[in-house]
Symmetry: C2
Subunit: 236 residues, 2 copies
Amino acid sequence: MRQGIPDATVARLPVYLRALTTLAEDGTATVSSEELAAAAGVGSAKLRKDLSHLGSYGTRGVGYEVEYLVYQISRELGLTQDWRVVIVGVGNLGHALANYGGFVSRGFTVAALLDADDRIVGETVGGLVVRPVDDLEEVVAEQGVHIGVVATPAPAAQDVCDRLVAAGVTSVLNFAPVVLLVPDTVMVRKVDLSTELQILAFHEQRQVANRLSVDVPARVVALEPDGGTGRAGVSP
Amino acid sequence: MRQGIPDATVARLPVYLRALTTLAEDGTATVSSEELAAAAGVGSAKLRKDLSHLGSYGTRGVGYEVEYLVYQISRELGLTQDWRVVIVGVGNLGHALANYGGFVSRGFTVAALLDADDRIVGETVGGLVVRPVDDLEEVVAEQGVHIGVVATPAPAAQDVCDRLVAAGVTSVLNFAPVVLLVPDTVMVRKVDLSTELQILAFHEQRQVANRLSVDVPARVVALEPDGGTGRAGVSP
DNA sequence: CGATGTGAAGACATTCACAGCG
DNA sequence: CGCTGTGAATGTCTTCACATCG
């Protein structure tokens, strides 16, 4: 039950959480695994297996109590405490991030916005005054920042990341199109537009190829199980 | 050799491609799997296995020719042809996307920017005039759009997605914090800030817990930037 | 010789199918 | 009876270790 939730499960918990909060707003009190799975875009067996890693929070013959499950998942993800975030780089993307409502909504506080450009420093974005990037170490130390968001141009990203790590940040969310090198003790997650588009392009290409060879019952096409639960078009 | 490159491999090819183009700009002619793997932040065995799915493009005892490998990966990802993209929703995030340079850089053309807000329609963003969202079907049909980017507020996302799909789009990149329901024939990938932050929070929480129990040498390892599922591990 | 390419082994994740409980 | 929770089976990905070849 406890001790080590699989990474694949952790990656899906936020999706379940979102579906559950939506249900809660609609006034739904309980859900079956079937219903919740549909709302989250996964199979019901996978959902039940995922939830079983947190404990036995369902009722057989009934389902899950929405409010209770929201709390349990939130606790497991560490959202019952507040995490302070610093955003470095207030360009187009940084603006979008700073104004993103869901950011603050659950457990995350933007401690500061930093930028290297004098023309941006001093501006107010999302209710915060942009500070010079030189304040980085000071901000991290004084505000007890845990998570750094790198939204700088590519050339500056590694340097900013190094400074974040040196200042004590142990989680980094990277929007710059570079591979950040960090010590083993630091966790990095990357969000990359071109990567996503390129993955979509690959699937588009294959789909077009399949469309052309529809008439030809080549035996190589046998890879597709087809029929009922074939490829759902969802991210891995 | 051909027929079915694993999804996990496809998700990493863009990373290799980026590392390779950087190397090419620096004038490097050949790389070993060891070097390229380091630049991409993966293990060398994994890299070789990944590349082996494309074919035998290396030279034993030497390594890979950078230019040649760039071409082969690009071709495999379908980047040798041009994919037309429509961006729906030109708020903060849409602005960032429209101005994102790497967007156009390789194989992607923004066919149009659409928005439902009259105050934004008519503005010029990233060199394009924002058009009303009512033009969606027309734009998709006339420009032969393959990929739709949903950057709208959450409540509008599913509706926009439905219209994209009905108009013939078969790949969708979703930035709205909702689970989009689509037919099996359509591929959706999701980019979600809160999801990423929540996954980081989970690992932060666990790291803090580990730090408190000092005697137990449970070292948090491997961060591994990747597409889709984030994997990271804790070694026993 | 040295680095690729790859079977084989192992780790991890998903799916199945049903026992067990409310 | 209906739905959860879970062992067992299946499938997928990663890692190892070395034969192979330029």
